[in-house]
Amino acid sequence: MPFIPHTEADIQAMLATIGAPDIDALFDEIPQALRCGELEKIPQGMSEMEVGRLMNTRARQDGQPLCFIGAGAYDHHIPAAVWQLATRGEFYTAYTPYQAEASQGTLQLLYEFQSMMTALTVMDVSNTSLYDGASALAEAVLMAVRANRKSKSKRILIPRSLHPAYRRVVHSIVRNQGIALVELPFDMESGQIDLSALEQYAGEDFAALVIPQCNFFGVLESVDELTDWAHANRMLAVAVANPVALAVLPPPGEWGEQGADICCGEGQPLGAPLASGGPYFGFLTCTQKLVRQMPGRIIGRTVDLDGKTGYTLTLQAREQHIRRSKATSNICTNQGLMVTAATIHMSLLGAEGLERVAAACHANTGKLVKALGGLPGVSPVFKGAVFHERVLRLPLETKDALRSLAAHNVLGGFDLSADYPELGNAVLVCATEMRGDEDIEQYRSKLERVINARIQTPCKLKPDW
């Protein structure tokens, strides 16, 4: 009986104490008619060794292709210390720190996390995570609607150049509260938010403007102008940022005259492995005056009976377990362990380390773009300043190109043609600090082969490479 410590003698002694003839009797309040039989479709239990064999086979099945996809999840180096520490039983198997005195380890760490995130974003306060970047943005939107005292609107301006999955998630989460997302187009030349389109909404009532930096295309937005425009139009400015990029880009707290009001984003680049998409974590920071509208857990520093410093959950009156239907969010379990890893990761990298990572990604993507740009028919799509990621146009259907590359064990980027048909055969590429020169050369030479094959057999309907 895996994980059941009871011996036959224990069971008998315990039943005798309870005064029950057998274990089944303990279920006697459940109507007999409801009781289910054997769970036939569930396979028999396995030993750890057997499950190990199964999982090893499956893990190996997916290989470890050379990956040039970014698009919201980035393959960064994670110091070995990060997960060796984060998986220590005391962090890994603790619950949410409800009993503060028995959770000072986690609580202090979370306070440190809040301190790092506010430093990175130059905002006043941080919560201790939401589920992921996309749902964090949804929460930021809800928060903006609640918090914007100058506006009664339930409309939000959201740029088309924002990650398509984020836009979908925000829509799924906010629509039932009657919140509408109004899409801002991008400029086909620069890839930035189309400022003339924006002007069209000047003076209208919106709760917030969402400003990604960089946007989904890796293009840098004119965040100062956008922030000031939002404020001038009584909207809150909601920044969506990549925390590693923030090490070198101007922090949202300093955008425009007053800075953004809320900043959120995906925490994955701070120590979470790609891991098929999760667990990652969403971060959210904001100005002091919005703190009571913030969703999620917040840690405060305080003192104990002896005046000694300690840490505890605070402002719980915002949360569902106290405020119930009036809470700022329904979130309860968050992504604590990922935050533990992120805090350790940031401690190891420091500001300079994060800067070096960001710069290396920028440089490597630049090299990649240069290498691929030398191939016939391959060129950057946008002219604007970019960071970390870039859109390329291909001389064949993106889907076909990526499929052929994958057959050569290269994941060549994110196919933009479904979400942005207006861009034609476009692919979003990214080379993090983990992709060295040889990797880039591999991509180049394989894409070259794919393009050549296509050029040589232009009429073939289904390419067979």
Binding site: M14, F27, A33, I42, Q114, L305, E352
Partner: protein
């Protein structure tokens, strides 16, 4: 000391940053940060020492008995971590093509199937990131169902007064009003009161069974009938699934939608706050609305189901596929348990709870529902002690910490005064339960003979009782240097 306080300007963990020299080639000045973020500047060893030492200040399942009611703090098999962390899984990009994802998708598909069987639902989506997001998805599906039928006057979700705070909060996030149903003196829902509030405005009801007061809702079939008759749907909060796994299934009780807390019942670790996973299961009529992505089998392979092929879906709840690594851990656990292991979870968690309840009442504690069987958890009320000795539930809880036991859940559910919600779980041995009874007995004696000792607890932890009021009043939420 904070890690910031161990910092010195110029100190580095040099092995960790790329050595590559770059000059932010081509990045215009306006896009450059003027001042580096004030992050700690520390050595690798300092980081390792700091966080190793911090970790030792935590209670956890790996170090302490942790009978935190409603939270199912049971043993997390260590294999779940190592096998979910195999390089093939960790390296997989979430947007990798299906050709390079069959191993991973096979695990998800199998897990979907196992969860269907275990809950008696007809389809499952794994994507919600935790229980509360599962609730949101579940209620959103209820809404989508009514909307699709044009039945859009339904604007109310019912929930017992004992419900977890996430239930009303999730309902509100889906645009519903929430109406509370009282709990009867026997711990079951007041069915007469329920009848009184059911009507054409009823979109559905959110229940957990066994309920948060730790007893099985005996009239569940009748309740299901009533709600369905009124045109509402039934939502099952699966936080308490541990109590009934393999014994009775929400689908068979008449529920239309359920979320599961894999970080509870399927023993993925709680990580000091998360991550969790809150898959949702539905009966046939709600299938079209399940959140995406899901995994389907297509001939020999697995394919993703997304917005494209599931147009009626309530949509996507996270950028990728939810907390994938948590799902893998749950899958590993499910394979370790297998068909026979699942009912054993219910059996032994129930045996442990009933044993503990009996022993604790024998030594002088009061059960909140003395006439009822415990499910996998039960409630004590310390109302009498608080009145007679001036020692309240929080005092008991804090004093337990001194004895190396994590406190049970306190003051939840709200309707039972001075309550302790105790959930020992199936992985604790009888000797540990007996030790807990001894400790509780000792504290009870202390409360009688030396109440100050209990009221000023804890005494032996890294800090004494913390000033929560000050924390909320003089907000100090980030280190300022």
């Amino acid at each position: 000391m904070l890690i910031f306080e161990k910092s010195r300007a110029g100190r580095r963990a040099t092995a960790q940053a790329p050595l590559q020299e770059t000059d932010l080639d081509g990045l215009p000045q306006q896009f450059r940060r003027r001042q580096s973020a004030s992050m700690p500047e520390v050595s690798e060893m300092q980081v390792v020492r700091h966080y190793t030492q911090l970790s030792q200040k935590n209670f956890s399942i790996d170090t302490h008995f942790y009978p935190l009611g409603s939270c199912t703090m049971k043993y997390n098999p260590r294999a779940s971590n190592s096998l979910a962390s195999l390089p093939g899984f960790l390296a997989r990009h979430p947007l990798a093509p299906e050709t390079h994802s069959q191993g991973f998708m096979g695990c998800l598909y199998d897990l979907q199937e196992m969860l269907k069987e275990a809950t008696g639902m007809s389809a499952v989506s794994l994507s919600p990131a935790a229980g509360a997001q599962g609730e949101f998805a579940g209620v959103a599906m209820i809404r989508a169902y009514h909307d699709a039928r044009g039945d859009d006057a339904r604007n109310e979700i019912l929930a017992p007064d004992a419900a977890h705070g996430t239930n009303p909060a999730s309902a509100v996030m889906c645009g519903y009003k929430v109406r509370e149903i009282p709990t009867g003196a026997d711990g079951d829902i007041d069915v007469e009161a329920l009848k009184g509030v059911l009507g054409p405005q009823t979109a559905g009801i959110m229940l957990t069974n066994p309920s948060t007061v730790g007893v099985f809702e005996r009239r569940i079939k009748e309740i299901a009938g009533l709600v369905h008759e009124a045109g509402g749907l039934l939502y099952y909060d699966g936080a308490n699934l541990n109590a009934i796994l393999g014994k009775v299934r929400p689908g068979d009780m008449g529920f239309d939608v359920i979320h599961m807390n894999l970080h509870k019942t399927f023993s993925t670790p709680h990580g000091g706050g998360g991550p969790g996973a809150g898959p949702v299961g539905v009966s046939e009529r709600l299938e079209p609305y399940l959140p995406v992505p899901m995994v389907a089998q297509d001939g020999a392979g697995y394919v993703w189901l997304t917005e494209d092929n599931r147009p009626e879906s309530i949509g996507r709840l996270s950028a990728f596929a939810g907390n994938a690594g948590v799902l893998l851990r749950a899958y590993i656990y499910a394979r370790l348990l297998g068909r026979d292991g699942m009912p054993r979870v219910a059996e032994f968690s129930t045996l442990n709870a009933n044993y503990l309840l009996k022993r604790l009442t024998d030594v002088g504690f009061d059960a909140a529902y003395p006439q009822r069987r415990a499910s996998h958890e039960f409630i004590l009320t310390l109302k009498r002690q608080a009145r007679e000795l001036g020692v309240n539930t929080m005092d008991f809880a804090k004093r337990l910490l001194d004895f190396g036991v994590h406190a049970p859940t306190t003051y939840f559910p709200l309707l039972v005064p001075e309550c302790l919600l105790i959930e020992p779980t199936e992985t604790e041995a009888q000797d540990e339960l007996d030790r807990f009874v001894d400790i509780m007995t000792t504290i009870l004696q202390e409360a009688q003979n030396d109440p100050e000792k209990v009221k000023s607890a804890p005494h032996d932890l890294p800090v004494r009782r913390l000033d929560d009021v000050r924390a909320a009043r003089d907000l100090d939420l980030a280190w300022k240097g």
